[in-house]
């Protein structure tokens, strides 16, 4: 990186520059059933350079990758080509973030662990959940990552953060005779806790058994549908992404500051804060790709769009005095109903979806349900083979949020979200 920095610093054609570098060491285990099929390790560095050229009252920029094997002459050629490209680009002027040195570790017990031993311990924790009669974990992939992320720019930004993180992809399966079903589990964390891993996989194993027993309920029906944290986060990010400075600048947004997202609503009012960090989340960061500081920002307050968010460039385009930075995590305020109150009336609680389908512009929310629990007022039974759909605006207006809160990946917020009157077929 020092060679690249030297070449950029001495280039008088440039009005600015930025270097983003991510060095990753990984150790990876791939299991087929309980047998180890493949062991992988990686040791790679990704370096991306952006040059900025002020010309004709405008700013041009262009980015390129630098591979590890490139020498000084190779990098100089790339810079020359990028300068030519930047001169073709006539964008409105903006300033890069200035100053600021930082060197921080994201809290994690993964970073200092010996990879082989940790990989083994994680595998043991996963397969410790394989205790359900008829159940099995048919595949499991374990990824241990140590990332060193660095941003430098021409205005003195020099920031480094280190992250240790783990991703587990496990496939809990339930089989009886020739019939077999599975569910998908994608579990990410920065602090390894064997008991938590086992409990999480065991919960999914039990749901795989429930999927095996699930039947298609009588349809069509209109029913209250409960979403769990993963889907709540997807729904809230759909709303938040619409409020990004870049989306607004591109005229690709639906909502603006001051808009009421829950007009004429009778449900719980939505308050969402985008954050730099959520404890235990691999998405947590000290800075964004520009190297700018991240400022936690409430984007939706009591159902009203309170603020936009995003990168320093697009913030400046919208005349934002202090851009927030691209915030990677989210906190939503809890609602007024306890989970047991939500579950007094008939409901359909989604445990596994093929993927929540959201379309702000067409006012749509829906998706295919692989496993849900249908409570008819007396007892809850597992169901499958159905899909749901509804108007997103009506969901927002009338939704209820649980009083109980959970932390799940990059999301802190209500454990359940109730969508009244969804159509289920």
């Amino acid at each position: 990186m020092s060679m690249i920095k030297k070449l950029l610093e001495q280039d008088s054609r440039l009005s600015g520059w930025r270097i983003n570098e991510t060095a990753t060491k990984s150790y990876e285990l791939f299991f087929v059933h309980k047998s180890l099929e493949t062991v992988r390790a990686t040791d790679t560095v990704t370096t991306n350079v952006t040059v900025y050229v002020d010309h004709d009252g405008k700013k041009g920029d262009s980015s390129f990758d630098v591979s590890a094997a490139m020498g000084e002459a190779d990098v100089q050629k790339k810079i020359d080509a990028a300068v030519q490209r930047a001169r073709l680009v006539f964008n409105e002027p903006y300033e890069l973030p200035d100053g600021g040195e930082l060197d921080r570790d994201m809290p994690s017990n993964v970073w200092d662990a010996e990879p082989k031993a940790l990989g083994h311990a994680i595998a043991d924790a996963v397969f410790a959940a394989d205790t359900v009669p008829g159940g099995s974990i048919n595949a499991c992939e374990i990824f241990l990552y140590k990332d060193t992320i660095r941003v430098l720019n021409s205005r003195g930004v020099n920031k480094t953060e280190r992250k240790g993180r783990v991703m587990i992809e496990a496939i809990p399966t339930f089989t009886e005779g020739k019939e077999s079903v599975e569910l998908y589990e994608d579990y990410r964390f920065t602090e390894f806790d064997g008991e938590k891993v086992t409990a999480e996989i065991a919960r999914r194993m039990a749901e795989a058994r429930d999927r095996f027993q699930a039947k298609k309920p009588q349809t069509p029906m209109e029913v209250n549908v409960l979403l769990r944290p993963h889907e709540i986060m997807e729904l809230l990010w759909e709303l938040a992404d619409d409020l990004n400075y870049a989306t607004v600048y591109s005229h690709a947004n639906l909502h603006n500051a001051g808009d009421d997202l829950q007009e004429n609503g009778v449900g719980d009012k939505l308050t969402v804060t985008l954050k730099a960090q959520v404890p235990g989340s691999e998405s947590s960061s000290w800075f964004d790709a520009d190297g700018g500081a991240l400022t936690d920002t409430c984007v939706i307050k009591n159902g009203i769009v309170a603020s936009l968010f995003g990168s320093t460039r697009f913030g400046q385009y919208l005349n934002v005095e202090k851009p927030t930075g691209n915030l990677p995590c989210m906190k939503a305020e809890t609602g007024s109903l306890a989970e047991n109150e939500m579950k007094k009336a008939p409901y359909l609680e989604c445990a596994s979806l093929s993927g929540l389908q959201l379309d702000l512009f067409n006012d749509y929310i829906g998706g295919e349900i692989r496993l849900a629990y249908w409570f008819d007022g007396e007892k809850a039974v597992p169901v499958t083979g159905i899909s749901m759909s509804g108007k997103l605006s009506q969901v927002l207006a009338n939704m209820r949020l649980s009083r109980e809160s959970v932390t799940d990946g990059a999301y802190e917020g209500p454990a359940l979200l109730l969508m009244p009157g969804m159509k289920v077929l």
Partner: protein
């Protein structure tokens, strides 16, 4: 454009590293990648010319007599013995896990030396001319209709160079592909985003496609700005080639990726030789099956491209394998071993996946429907190879009433249900045929590779919501 000079210069380093590791492993291969991509984009306010998603590095695949070991690194220069020792050290497993390693046969290492090149016209176009095209297209769309809030035009050429070396095999390949897309953001009754796009082997075809598509994307945006929600139900449906391809990809393509057979994650494993679709259904996958975005000469395991017929006259006849899954199943690999990049593992993956054309005329297919929908443009889909559920989302549909397409647009349209029910409901197959080479495919929620899919128009009965 010749093969990568960078990779050419690394041939001897690769050979020496393979030899050094060959003292410790029964099989060693190295894949070197030098993929360059460019992203050119213009809209009302901004423009961009920069490197796109490329890669440059190396990945080793070894077999220790029992199982597979891989190592990804950026460079292979320097002391090969020391590098080999480092690789062995960093890929070691905890002693207690060693006994749990699978016992798979050592892959064959058939001798072959060949350099593959597919020429393209990329050198005829410089950055300035491509950016001007994007700016002109964007400006043209904006100028045509005052309701257009913004118009985005994108051209993305990329060039693939890969070098594959084992003790007995040395292959190189060079080819390119380009994608073009335009998006109109339109304020009508509501704000709508419409897109048109495709891929091609030559940039002149992408530029022609973009110029020809401006009116079409505005017309689509107008209609989408009045689109209504569909009433959930089971309908007779005609698919455009994009949605036919999405069905082929999600309904059955993922289900015959044979690494899922090894893991007992695919119902298709138990259905070989059985009817899984209507008898008029024929489906293929393969880098050599057609010329599109995934038409490489050899896969990331060094296996030559195939054309695999997956479904023949409704009967499931074959699956898709990478080297590791084929070794475990005792079958020959089908040339479907693909990596997200040199940093990631090879899996059995789709390439170009499509249904074969049939005999029916599209107008007859539409005329055969009293009330239903014709579906257009892939948005996304999700596989469920174990349980054969399907979710495919189309950008929009047009209502068919009394055998005619109406002006009633619905958007989005989520198609779901059981894979066998859907495939067995195929009652008409058009003679039209198109493969769209602009897609990306994940395995689960990761491991992204470029794919194409398509086919003819199909008439099916399916749940829409």
């Amino acid at each position: 454009m010749p093969f990568s000079t960078y990779l050419d210069g690394k041939r001897q380093d690769c050979r020496e590293l393979v030899a050094a590791l060959g003292k410790h492993f029964r099989y060693v291969s190295i894949l070197g990648t030098d993929v360059t991509a460019t992203a050119i984009r213009a809209d009302r306010n901004m423009s961009m010319v920069q490197d796109g998603r490329g890669e440059c590095g190396f990945v080793l695949k070894m077999h220790n007599g029992r199982s597979f070991i891989e190592y990804s690194l950026d460079d292979v220069s320097g002391d090969k013995q020391a590098l080999a020792e480092r690789i062995i050290r960093e890929t070691a497993v905890d002693a207690a896990l060693q006994s749990k390693m699978i016992e798979a046969p050592v892959p064959a290492d058939e001798p072959m030396k060949q350099d593959f090149v597919r020429e393209n016209d990329f050198a005829d176009f410089d950055d300035a001319s491509l950016l001007k095209t994007c700016k002109d297209i964007s400006a043209e769309i904006i100028a045509k209709d005052e309701h257009v809030l913004n118009a985005i035009a994108v051209i993305q050429p990329y060039q693939v160079n890969k070098l594959f070396i084992t003790k007995n095999r040395e292959l190189s390949q060079h080819y390119g592909w380009a994608n073009g897309i335009m998006i109109a953001i339109y304020r009508g009754e509501k704000i709508a985003q419409a897109r048109e796009g495709d891929g091609a082997a030559n940039l002149k075809d992408i530029i022609a496609m973009l110029h020809a598509g401006a009116d079409k994307v505005i017309d689509l945006a107008k209609h989408l700005s009045t689109a209504k929600a569909i009433e959930p139900g089971v309908y007779d449906v005609i698919t455009d080639p994009s949605i036919s391809g999405l069905i082929a990809h999600e309904a059955f393509g993922h289900g015959v990726e044979m690494d899922q057979f090894v893991k007992d994650r695919a119902m298709a494993k138990h259905c070989m030789g059985q009817y899984v679709a209507s008898p008029i259904t024929n489906m293929h996958d393969g880098a050599a099956a057609t010329h599109s975005v995934a038409s490489y000469f050899f896969d990331d395991d060094g296996v030559l491209a195939h054309d695999t017929q997956i479904i023949k006259d409704g009967i499931l006849v074959a699956g898709l394998s990478d080297l590791a899954s084929a070794a475990q199943l005792g079958t020959a690999p089908t040339g479907n071993g693909r990596r997200d990049s040199y940093k990631r593992k090879a899996y059995a993956r789709m390439t170009n996946t499509f249904f074969e054309p049939g005999q029916d005329k599209l107008e007859d297919m539409i005329a055969s429907i009293q009330h239903g929908y014709m579906l257009f443009q892939t948005n996304n889909g999700m596989e469920d190879p174990k349980n054969w559920q399907i979710q495919c989302t189309a950008e929009y549909g047009i209502e068919i009433v009394d055998g005619k397409l109406t002006e009633n647009y619905v958007s989005p349209v989520v198609m779901s249900g059981s894979v066998p029910d859907l495939l067995k409901s195929i009652s008409m197959v058009s003679g039209n045929f198109k493969v769209i080479g602009a897609g990306m495919c994940g395995k689960g929620y990761k491991e992204w590779v470029r794919v194409s899919d398509g086919g003819p128009n199909l008439k099916v009965k399916v749940k829409l919501g």
